[in-house]
């Protein structure tokens, strides 16, 4: 177990290193450089700025400096926001994204397990049909449409009630978080519901369920202690990729709901070609996602002891 964890961790580090390298060279292959902006610079100012940002060095030296700083956890200074450190940007905005993402994963996980179990219990009856119809919609409709529809619905509801039940956009209180995280989690919830349904259906016909029934256990106890626990396992395996999907899906939701998260910042930085911010957030996000997948994999071994990690 320890050996396996260490091996995965090492692999993760190599992946992060590759992400950083790919990001660095992708950024530096862009024609032009960050200083070729809208302001005309004199030779002298340009030379000074290049020296300040280290752009006068050969590419490999710059790469070395970048890696050196990265090892110390320093992502550098933003180009478009003068003297603002990328670390500060991440520190300020990542907690917002993380809160949104955790809530969305919670919604998706709980909702997926609950709906999936319900569909399996009411197989081919109307609750099953209704939920599966919703699931098909959830898989087919893009997240930004859900975001727009969610906002539209809030406007209508607030207008209809005559007071603001839930805020339409912005961030700060729990009320701000509910609808965006629900919208963000919807696609994943639909996917998990489908997974949970098929895993539940498989388990309903298994031997241990029949044994439990013949022992005289109540239907509810079989459901909670035998079926649900076993059916939940495949859902846990896909939680890692699901977290990744939710983290990047957050870009759109943050844009639509005007949430000051890191995703919105990343999109902005890309649009302004703010190289250090792009590199910093990519490496940070990349590392986060890679390690989330590892954590979920390790968690799986803990939840289901039958799975041998090696």
């Amino acid at each position: 177990m320890l050996r396996y964890s260490l091996k995965r961790l090492l692999q993760g580090l190599v992946t992060v290193f590759l992400i950083a390298t790919a990001t660095f060279f992708a950024m530096h292959s862009v024609p032009g450089d960050p200083l070729a902006g809208d302001k005309a610079l004199t030779e002298r100012i340009r030379a000074n700025l290049e020296a300040k940002y280290g752009l006068d060095q050969p590419l490999m030296t710059q790469y070395g400096i970048f890696l050196g700083n990265l090892v110390q956890g320093d992502f550098g200074i933003s180009y478009t926001q003068e003297n603002r450190r990328v670390n500060d940007i991440i520190r300020e905005h990542f907690p917002v994204s993380a809160t949104l993402g955790i809530l969305a994963v919670a919604f998706a996980g709980l909702g997926g397990v609950l709906w999936g179990a319900l569909t399996a219990l009411y197989r081919n009856r109307w609750p099953d049909m209704a939920i599966m119809l919703a699931v098909i919609l959830g898989i087919s409709v893009p997240s930004f449409v859900f975001a727009a529809l969610g906002q539209l619905l809030l406007v209508q509801v607030n207008g209809w009630l005559g007071f603001s039940l839930l805020p339409v956009a912005g961030w700060g209180t729990v009320a701000h978080m509910l609808i965006p995280s629900l919208v963000l989690g919807l696609g994943t919830m639909a996917y998990l519901t489908r997974l949970m349904r098929s895993s539940m259906l498989e388990i309903v016909g298994s031997d241990f369920v029949r044994t439990a029934k013949s022992k005289g256990l109540s239907a509810s106890r079989i459901f909670t202690h035998h079926q649900l626990r076993n059916a939940i396992l495949p859902v846990v395996t896909v939680l890692g990729p699901a977290i990744a999907a939710i983290a990047t899906g957050g870009f759109v939701v943050e844009m639509v709901f005007a949430i000051p998260g890191l995703g919105r910042y990343f999109v902005q930085a890309v649009q302004q070609l703010d190289y250090t911010v792009i590199m910093g957030t990519t490496v940070f996000y990349g590392a986060f996602l890679v390690f989330m997948v590892i954590v979920v994999d390790l968690l799986y071994g803990w939840i289901d002891p039958r799975v041998r990690l090696e």
Binding site: I136, P142, F144, A244, V267
Partner: protein
């Protein structure tokens, strides 16, 4: 114990009973069998028709509806479908000095019939007003509520007329005039007026947008019909149906070309790894593991930035390339697994025994036997690719602006979704229906083609 005596007759061959040998039903190939299964699946079949319909819409549609998707109809901006297209021809605009006033009732009144060319307003003096400010609103005046868009302000108490020519639409507006005190504060005296603006067009404009061949044919007072837009227009007055068709080309091209390419690459890569085995297999698979670990959307965005789309380019090729670069490992892994299994099958050994070369074995025996799985993967890859394109275009990192795609149309539509929701609803509907159709078709194909992957439903 009795002994039976055999005669020579006993050793004659029995009469050939052909009925035992004959196949009672025609023999079916794998694909014929799959097609029969698919046809029995109503959901999959209707989604197949839907996919065919979408392809027809994309390929044949522009031949039937030949409107240029980039043509701007400035007379009809952000028109919902089925909007009134009638317009009255008027003389060109001439300046107004505010003299020709009609008798006013209720404080604020119209000097002339209101048209989209101009709304000419005049008002009676308000008590204690040292000046006036005129507002335009979409909603009726209510005390305490905002008055709307301020159009005009003056500190001359005798200047009591205004001509509104600001972006007038054929709809109902609510104008309000508020008295100002000497400090420029609103005194509280407000007069309001509801104005229903009629759509007009000058003869010259009608000629310019191609409604008539010659402006001389029209005289003021004539009624004409503006261009038809079955699904309305967008915020620049472009025909939404034509743009949806042009956008379908981009979205479906990316959605089909990218999976085709990356699955083709993945098949070759996976087949090579699976067939070679050993160290080469390990090295190839380790590399694909690293590509899988890269965060997909972040790298799509990065590659898009790195490819640096120049003005005038659509940005479709870099997007397809980026998708191919990042998406092939899933197909490679799948095909490798299949090849590893098939490699041990008897028919492969038989072919090898007969002297088949390695490329022959792979191309003739192994890859055709994985085609079912590959086709299913392909069908599920299409909606993912369409989603990715829509997502990237939505955050402004996809196809470059003049080229329409469903995602970029959603991006434009979402800005005006409260006032003109049709600009968002139509492209969103097309994305959803396409993704739905390919997902259901994929489910059906999986059930029909591959017994092992058959879903539990």
């Amino acid at each position: 114990m009795t002994e039976a005596a055999f005669t020579a007759d006993d050793f004659q061959p029995a009469a050939a009973a052909h009925s035992a040998q004959a196949a009672s039903r025609p023999s079916l190939s794998y694909w014929q069998d799959a097609w029969i299964r698919l046809k029995a699946n109503r959901r999959a079949l209707s989604s197949l028709y839907l996919v065919i319909g979408l392809l027809l819409f994309t390929l044949i549609g522009p031949l039937i509806w030949t409107v240029d998707p980039s043509l701007q109809d400035l007379e009809q901006i952000s028109q919902p479908p089925g909007a009134d297209r009638n317009a009255v021809v008027v003389a060109p605009h001439s300046p107004w000095n505010g003299v020709a006033r009609q008798p006013l009732g209720g404080g604020l009144g119209l000097a002339e019939p209101p048209t989209t060319q101009s709304v000419r307003l005049a008002w009676e003096p308000l008590p204690d007003a040292a000046g006036y400010r005129l507002y335009r609103n979409l909603f009726p005046y209510e005390p305490g509520q905002p008055l709307g868009l301020p159009l005009f302000a003056t500190f001359n108490a005798d200047r009591r007329h205004f001509e509104d020519r600001l972006d007038l639409k054929p709809r109902t507006y609510h104008y309000s005039v508020a008295g100002l005190d000497a400090q420029g504060e609103v005194t509280g005296a407000v007069r309001s007026l509801e104005v229903a603006v009629a759509r007009v067009v000058t003869a010259q404009d009608a000629q310019d947008i191609g409604l008539v061949a010659d402006a001389g044919q029209l005289s003021p007072g004539d009624r004409i019909k503006l261009r038809a837009h079955p699904l309305g227009t967008d915020y620049l007055g472009r025909d939404l149906l034509a743009r949806l068709m042009a956008g379908a080309r981009v979205s479906l091209f990316i959605g089909i070309a990218a999976p085709l390419l990356f699955i083709a690459f993945g098949v070759i890569y996976g087949a090579a790894a699976g067939f070679l085995g050993g160290l080469a297999d390990q090295a190839l698979m380790r590399f694909s593991d690293f590509v899988v670990a890269l965060p997909f959307l972040l790298f799509m965005i990065l590659l898009r930035v790195a490819s640096g789309v120049q003005p005038g380019e659509s940005g479709i090729t870099p997007m397809v390339l980026a998708m191919v670069l990042l998406s092939w490992p899933a197909a490679a892994r799948l095909v490798r697994g299949q090849i590893l299994q098939i490699r041990e099958e008897g028919y492969v050994s038989a072919a090898r025994l007969l002297g088949g070369s390695a490329p022959y074995l792979v191309l003739r025996h192994m890859i055709p036997n994985t085609l079912g799985v590959i086709l299913v993967t392909m069908t599920f890859a299409v909606p993912t690719a369409i989603f990715t394109e829509a997502f990237l275009s939505f955050i402004g990192m996809g196809v470059a602006p003049p080229t329409p795609s469903w995602g970029s149309m959603c991006n434009e539509g979402i800005k005006t979704m409260l006032t003109t929701p049709h600009e968002l609803i139509f492209p969103a509907l097309f994305i959803s229906v396409t993704v739905l159709a390919f997902n259901l078709l994929g489910d059906g194909l999986r059930d029909a083609l591959d017994a092992r992957m058959r879903s539990a439903e």
